[in-house]
């Protein structure tokens, strides 16, 4: 006999694209959904991505992701727990489902009360208050806990005194609460490859070497990409593909990165096309290994890139700072069989995806296998009723994340429709 879903609850860990699309799908099927997000806001990395449309859409799907975030904020049976993490998960005492312990960091500003007037941010002496999700056309302010003077024990409460809706409570304490869930979905996403920590290609020390993520941030903030050193449009731009992917040079990391991150070619080519159009005098070079296929209009995009961009199949060996803020790039040109050096105004490192920082802890907590790269088993846990979705189970772009999540949500719902789950024996 199929079960009434409206009496059931799902717990989703992670409020990025996967978590949010699952929340929407599960709530439209009638479930009560608890969405637990580590940060102070939903959206994950996608919130920082920019639109890459030229005159036409390039199908980066960022607008679709933002649309889903807006939808979930309005969904009535999705309960959002911000600044929270899953601390423990036990089998429920009645033998069906789970009981989760959620740790919530102090909510210094209550999102539901904040009207985004910005008085607090203007008054903050250390500028530690900022809007959380301006890209959604709807925001509230959040306090950077590490910089807030009040949290360092100083007597500062300017923001609290000014807040017209009493949304600020600087003495808020962390809280723990329990949630019942009939199913758990882990959608904790990925971490971008840490080029800074690894010092890859001198990132962080050589000016004008940026990562693909930095490029996305710039694009989101200003719809174009400028050289960080002098804020001028770069003329010669290089993209280096497969940074932190398809290599075992990252051996000091806990897990191997002998895999293709699946998204970097797509974003690099889309951003390159955008820049080629915006900065018509620029010359863009892509250093690549293999270009990965993506999207239905790949054929058009690829032939356009071959016309407009310089594609070099090579993995540059090093980058060095040069005069005028330029970056000197050394690579082997196999067609000339010689080592070449070429200066660029801007070098973009197309960094890949790494397993989420919390993946190991949650995998242990929920009995989920972790593969040699650190990604979670897409089939979920040994414990029935625990599922895994999105890029925490392997690199995926927005489209593939949504596609995979849709299938996992279907599986979760099918499980709940069947007889009540029996506790693990």
């Amino acid at each position: 006999m199929s079960q009434d879903l409206s009496a059931k609850q799902a717990l989703i860990i992670g409020g990025g694209i996967a978590g949010v699309s699952a929340a929407l799908q599960l709530s439209s099927a009638g479930l009560q959904v608890h969405l637990v997000e580590r940060d102070d806001h939903l959206g994950g990395h996608a919130l920082d991505f920019g639109c890459k449309a030229i005159d036409t859409c390039q199908k980066c799907n960022v607008c679709l992701a933002l649309d889903k975030f807006r939808q979930v904020l309005q969904a009535s049976n999705v309960h959002i727990h911000l600044a929270s993490q899953l601390d423990a998960l036990t089998d429920s005492s009645n033998g069906s489902g789970f009981r989760a312990t959620i740790l919530q960091k102090p909510q210094l500003i209550t999102p539901a009360k904040c009207i985004a007037c910005g008085l607090c941010a203007a008054a903050c002496p250390v500028n530690c208050i900022s809007p959380a999700t301006p890209a959604l056309g709807f925001t509230y302010y959040t306090i950077d806990r590490s910089r807030c003077l009040a949290l360092q024990g100083q007597d500062c409460h300017k923001c609290r005194d000014l807040c017209p809706t009493s949304a600020i409570d600087l003495a808020a304490q962390p809280s723990t609460h329990q949630l019942d869930a009939d199913a758990v979905l882990l959608a904790i996403g990925y971490e971008p490859y840490d080029a800074l920590g690894q010092g890859t290609y001198g990132y962080g020390t050589i000016p004008n070497v940026i990562t693909g993520l930095d490029a996305e941030h710039q694009l989101q903030a200003s719809a174009t990409i400028l050289r960080p050193s002098d804020s001028r449009p770069p003329k010669k731009i290089a993209f280096i593909q497969c940074v932190g992917s398809r290599s075992d040079e990252t051996a000091p990391l806990a897990f191997s990165s002998q895999y293709c991150s699946a998204v970097c070619c797509a974003y690099a080519l889309r951003i390159s096309r955008l820049l080629a159009q915006q900065l018509s005098e620029s010359q863009i070079t892509i250093f690549y290994m293999d270009l990965q296929k993506f999207g239905k209009d790949y054929q058009t995009l690829y032939s356009d890139c071959r016309d407009k961009l310089r594609l070099i199949r090579s993995r540059p060996s090093r980058l060095e700072p040069a005069a005028d803020g330029q970056v000197l790039l050394t690579y082997e040109d196999v067609t000339e069989t010689q080592v070449c050096q070429e200066p660029f105004d801007l070098v973009v490192l197309s960094i890949g995806m790494r397993p989420a920082a919390d993946a190991r802890r949650l995998a242990d907590l929920l009995d989920i296998d972790v593969d040699q790269h650190g990604f979670l088993n897409p089939l979920g846990s040994y414990r029935p009723g625990i599922f895994v979705a999105g890029s925490c189970s392997g690199p995926a772009d927005i489209a593939e994340t949504i596609q995979r999540t849709s299938a996992v949500s279907a599986r979760l719902l099918d499980t709940l429709r069947r007889a009540p789950l029996v506790a693990n024996i």
Partner: protein, 679 residues
């Protein structure tokens, strides 16, 4: 025939009494807006009988005053002048539904993000707010009460195609207690998976699914059957099949890609082996005495990761089984599956030589061998190889039957042989037409496990649509006036969601409310002006306040309006002489609205919407652009400056682009449209 039209005599329409509710945002806007002045001017507007000043609508208890006013019999409609509705909408909508307040009679304007926060000058921000309120009250006076109706749904689902995705979808639906009709053009179940020797697991899975389907009493299977035509609406489709008819509530299309149709065409080569031939030869160990063999992956056509996986696997196997020199020629290895990099490393360890080149090698056919000559891009070395055997990957075939099928289903023209249109908002399985879903590799290239997943996902979507045997739908969204309808089929062809049916008896088009998405494309396209869209009628969109703004922006609610909200949040500034008129889609705007705005005194009219293929209403923006371009040509012919009318695309988060659009060229020469000309 399809939905009974409900007569809606609207008694309120004759003397609508409106309340205007001003939210003062907890007192934070006092420096930017002169609320007493706004309240006074709102109170003078025709039909406004009450002005409420509310402290903070979004805070607990903040909307009590408004709710009390709405429950008062003397108030028939309300305008909320506050911030971005996201701050207060959810709470208010719940209050409305529990108090039985018709949402169509409540309208909203944004005086915070669109006025107070973007115009530093208090008096001009105040003036703009008053103007926005005046236009919105004018539109609200013409608003209509729209009820809902019960629509019956047939829970049977028609699944077209019995490959992995189709079979999986059929079984998943049967599990959810739906009756399923599964049709396939083939004479057996299983599809392409059965014919491929490269992936025996897929073939095995196909056989298992086929067996389960034959045993399932909820699934009726019709082999050697095609869809002839599909009539009716979502929930009550009638599918005419080459054998008989199937009545169903929804359709899942899982026709896959075409049958194997042979290898990529390469210059100077005839009769090459396909990968499948090679797989069979390896399986049966048929060939021997091979010294040197080659596999070509993607020298002429793009290949996906399934083909890459097959190529690496076959190359490794051949190398190990026959001990021959094995070369794999490719442009790009598609390794974006997790284990695929390992597979590639393994192939290389097994001794497979991978040669990469963007340019096709020179290929010559010899009597019993093939010669390939070129340069490997990885090493820069030239190669000149005589191969005993050359296997070539199949060209990714486009399914030519797809176009015929999507025409019958009215789901738009296939792109690159894929049935699903290439639009961001159709991900993952939507067709754009309510009740019709795509699954499997007919919509995008997928590897076989993903095709199975896709089948389950589509089944879940179909189940969400047909959960119960009835649903509630708006009584009307867009409505055709049969007296004006010329039966020209323009609306039928232009509706992005194929939500229009033609009533042969009464010779008039009918909009099916349960399929209509209320985008207004048909309304703008109709040459006879026979269609009206609720809340966005021609008269509502043509209302201009007494002192019109220099620039009128028709802003798509999915992109431009949200971008304007973001601009406000970011406290960007632009000229206050801009009036924003929200529309559901740029596709709603027809030249009449533009001309009326110009006639009323606007200097410039901007239509701002989404990008093509990121338009929530599929081709709404494309249609709008075509209409506006025609209008611009006409203006030029009349000797007027066409630049006074512009259409642009932007994304919802693109606040900067919105500000650029509304700030550019405001000083353009004002075209003079004589007031006497009837538009």
């Amino acid at each position: 025939m399809i939905v009974q039209k409900q007569a809606q005599p609207n008694a309120l329409h004759s003397r609508p009494r409106s309340a205007v509710c001003l939210c003062e945002c907890a007192g934070t806007l006092a420096d930017q807006l002169d609320f007493p002045k706004i309240a006074a001017s709102a109170g003078r507007l025709p039909g406004v009988t009450r002005v409420l000043r509310c402290h903070a609508l979004c805070q607990p208890g903040g909307s009590d005053q408004l709710l009390a006013a709405l429950k008062d019999q003397r108030i028939s409609r309300a305008l909320i002048a506050a911030c971005t509705p996201a701050y207060y909408r959810t709470a208010l909508e719940q209050a409305f539904s529990s108090n039985n307040i018709n949402p169509h009679l409540v309208s909203r304007v944004n005086i915070r993000e669109h006025c107070a926060w973007v115009h530093p000058d208090r008096s001009s921000a105040t003036q703009k707010a008053s103007r926005l309120i005046a236009s919105a009250v004018g539109r609200l006076r013409l608003a209509e009460r729209v009820g809902t109706q019960r629509v019956s749904l047939n829970r049977r689902v028609l699944v077209i195609g019995a490959g992995l995705a189709g079979m999986q979808a059929a079984l998943a639906l049967a599990d959810k207690k739906h009756a399923v009709t599964l049709i396939t053009v083939s004479d057996h179940l299983g599809g392409r998976a059965l014919q491929q020797s490269i992936i025996p697991q897929a073939a095995e899975r196909a056989r298992q699914l086929a067996k389960r389907i034959r045993l399932n009493r909820r699934i009726s299977v019709l082999t050697a059957t095609r869809l002839r035509s599909l009539a009716g609406r979502f929930g009550q489709f009638q599918a005419h099949l080459s054998q008989g008819q199937a009545d169903c509530g929804a359709v899942i299309v899982a026709t896959g890609r075409s049958q194997l149709t042979g290898p990529q065409q390469l210059p100077a080569i005839t009769g090459t082996l396909t990968f499948d031939h090679l797989a069979l030869a390896l399986q049966k160990n048929r060939l021997s005495n091979l010294k040197r063999i080659g596999l070509i992956l993607d020298l002429q056509t793009q290949q996906d990761r399934a083909a890459t996986r097959a190529a690496l696997k076959l190359a490794s196997r051949a190398r190990l089984l026959w001990g021959c020199e094995t070369y794999l020629f490719c442009c790009h290895l598609r390794l974006s599956g997790l284990d695929q990099e390992q597979q590639y490393q393994q192939a290389r360890q097994d001794g497979v030589v991978v040669i990469k080149s963007l340019s096709c090698p020179e290929i010559t056919q010899q009597v019993t061998a093939v010669r390939l000559k070129g340069t490997d891009e990885q090493t820069g070395r030239d190669f000149d190889l005589v191969l005993d055997l050359l296997a070539v990957a199949d060209a990714p075939q486009t399914n030519n039957g797809q176009a015929g099928l999507t025409a019958k289903l009215r789901t738009g023209r296939p792109v690159a042989g894929l049935a699903q249109r290439d639009n961001v908002f159709l991900l993952p399985v939507d067709s754009g037409r309510e009740g019709i879903l795509f699954a499997g590799s007919c919509r995008t290239p997928l590897e076989w496990p993903q095709a199975l997943d896709d089948g389950s996902a589509a089944a879940e979507h179909a189940h969400t649509l047909l959960k119960d045997s009835a649903a509630r739908a708006p009584a009307k969204l867009a409505e055709v006036d049969p007296a004006k309808c010329a039966f020209c089929l323009t609306c039928y062809r232009s509706c992005p969601h194929a939500a229009i049916a033609m009533d042969q008896e009464n010779r008039a088009a009918i909009v099916v409310p349960i399929m209509c998405q209320a985008c207004g494309v048909c309304v703008a396209e109709c040459p006879a002006k026979a269609v009206e869209l609720v809340d966005y009628t021609d008269s509502q969109l043509s209302i201009s306040p007494a002192s019109p703004a220099a620039t009128v922006v028709f802003a798509c609610e999915n992109s431009a309006l949200l971008a304007a909200d973001s601009a406000g949040l970011a406290r960007m500034t632009y000229s206050p002489d801009v009036a924003i008129v929200p529309v559901p889609c740029a596709g709603r705007i027809d030249p009449v609205h533009v001309l009326r705005a110009l006639q009323a005194g606007a200097e410039k009219v901007l239509i701002l919407g989404c990008y093509d293929q990121a338009c929530k209403y599929l081709h709404g923006i494309t249609r709008a652009r075509a209409r506006i371009e025609r209008l611009r040509t006409q203006l030029t012919q009349l000797g007027l400056d066409p630049d006074c009318v512009q259409i642009g695309s932007l994304m919802a988060a693109d606040a900067g682009r919105f500000v650029d659009f509304v700030s550019d060229g405001l000083q353009g020469d004002k075209p003079v449209i004589p007031a006497k000309v009837g538009i």
